[in-house]
Amino acid sequence: MKQGPGLRIYAIVYLVFLYAPILLLPMFAFNNSRVIAFPLSGFSTQWFVAMWEDEQLFRALRNSMIISSSTAIFATTLGIFAARATTRYRFPAKGGLIALIMLPLVLPEMIVAMSLLVVLLWIGIPLSIWTIILGHILLCTPFAVAILSSAFQSLDKSLEEAAYDLGEGPISTFRLIILPLVMPGIISSLLICFTISLDEFIVAYFLGGTDTPLSAYIYGQFRFPARVPAMLALGTILVMVSILLLSIAEYFRRRGLARTGAKDTGGFL
């Protein structure tokens, strides 16, 4: 294939377009002005200080930490069960069950959130961190299943048989052979689910009741122009954390591939 420079230029322009808004974050988070506009007014860390002194923010942060960690753990666990079941066994209604589990990926979040809300209100369950966690697990499990299915799939089936042949039972085989080899996938799943939950807004906003996680808190603050720069500071940190977690997840994904000798198909697909 001959390489024309046109396509490459297009790709780079596209990347710039993709990242431009995000690059604004640090630009104006360190800007010494209350107004988000050019020209820049000089370097200042006041917004980060303002953010740091915000007590409500820290409460929201604490909520988010609890929510995202719990979501990551539960969604990954559910993902392990489903991924193992679908890659190793045949059973009736397999296709239908998989479709149901993966359905949240193609439904608009609003519909998922509202349906859940309707039922929760009907039963009379009060809205709190725990209802958010319920919703987030629902949204994150498909991602966990996708990542873990790929990890389980790349396991050589004879490895398990070899372990049996050498005298192990199903549980010790899982512990000694399967788990270590899918561990990179598990870590990836934990990090991705954590990140998704951290950034998620709709469920966090509508199913939280009086408890506000970080994303809902930021949304509320956007109404006040004065608070905007501080929120941009927070946003900067959030984006950096997300990128960091994702890079780590990608690192583990690659390491997992190297260990089992599988090929890199590029990404979590």
Partner: protein
């Protein structure tokens, strides 16, 4: 060749083990997804009472949703915006996917994909708000142009809220579109293309006659992956539209929560899902000849 699962050789039938293993996840999905969705379906044919929903079966809610001009125009707007977003996003995404698949060496492909998908994993809320900041009155764009001397006063790029929403959504859903197309392009056997060129085709005709048709399954997936969530988006109409140009999701919120018309809200939600499903099926039917060909 089928074989018994090892677990089942020791314990019992393969089907039983498989079902047992998937049960926690499946039960969770049934209880928290299938159940609530069914509840919404049920609600939509009930009636809204003063404080709670009355067990009064009727299709009155649907009649109201489909006949009211307000809801109609909102549905139409949602469809138009999603449609426009989908077209723009997929058209813009295809060359990128093509670039990474054909013009990037294999060892660097995952880096490119990683770079392309990172923005997607950061907070959607923040990204939408950033567009508001960029496009708004005396926002980044406006002040930047003024600072560069191109314009002479503050202006807003959001007066056409619909266009602003389209730009925002296209930006957010770009990676959704790139990835399926990329996967489909990767699957194309490169020797097909070389064979075509060997037989005298130019690169352009090779693209239109071989590459494009073979990648259609990815394009179709991209269309659906962008269209369906976009139509149900809440944040962009809320922040960019300023609440004055609601889409379906915002209407659902209004009915469900602000006005406590759960039954009507449910009918809205179900109607939206029906429309989405119908449009998707029509789209799939029109393109069915591409779905069978791809492996």
């Amino acid at each position: 060749m089928g074989k018994d699962g090892l677990l089942s050789r020791i314990r019992g039938s393969e089907a039983a083990s498989g079902l047992a293993l998937i049960s926690p996840t499946a039960i969770y999905a049934v209880l928290l997804l299938a159940g609530p969705l069914t509840a919404v379906l049920l609600y939509s044919v009930l009636t809204d009472g003063p404080n709670r929903v009355e067990w009064d079966f009727s299709f009155a809610n649907y009649v109201e949703v489909w006949s009211s001009p307000i809801y109609r125009s909102i549905m139409l707007r949602s469809l138009t915006v999603s449609f426009a977003v989908t077209v723009v996003t997929v058209l813009v995404a295809y060359p990128i996917a093509y670039f990474v698949s054909f013009h990037v060496s294999p060892s660097r492909k995952s880096i490119w994909l990683f770079l392309i998908t990172i923005p997607f994993w950061t907070s959607y809320l923040i990204r939408v708000f950033l567009w508001k900041v960029i496009l708004g009155y005396n926002g980044v764009f406006s002040s930047g142009l003024e600072f560069a001397g191109i314009t002479s006063g503050p202006m807003s790029f959001m007066t056409d809220a619909t266009s602003a929403m389209i730009v925002t959504l296209a930006h957010a859903y770009a990676p959704f579109a790139i990835l399926p197309i990329f996967v489909a392009l990767e699957k194309i056997d490169r020797s097909f293309l070389e064979a075509g060129q060997d037989l005298g085709e130019t690169r352009l005709t090779t693209f239109f006659r071989v590459t494009l048709p073979l990648s259609m399954s990815g394009v179709i997936a991209a269309v659906l992956i962008v269209f369906i969530p976009t139509i149900g988006d809440y944040v962009t109409p809320d922040l960019i539209g300023g609440g004055k140009f609601p889409m379906i999701a915002n209407m659902i919120e209004v009915q469900m929560l602000k006005l406590d018309n759960k039954a009507l809200g449910s009918a809205l939600a179900v109607s939206a899902m029906i429309i989405v499903a119908v449009v998707s099926l029509i789209f799939l039917a029109l393109n069915r000849r591409f779905l069978g060909a791809a492996k």
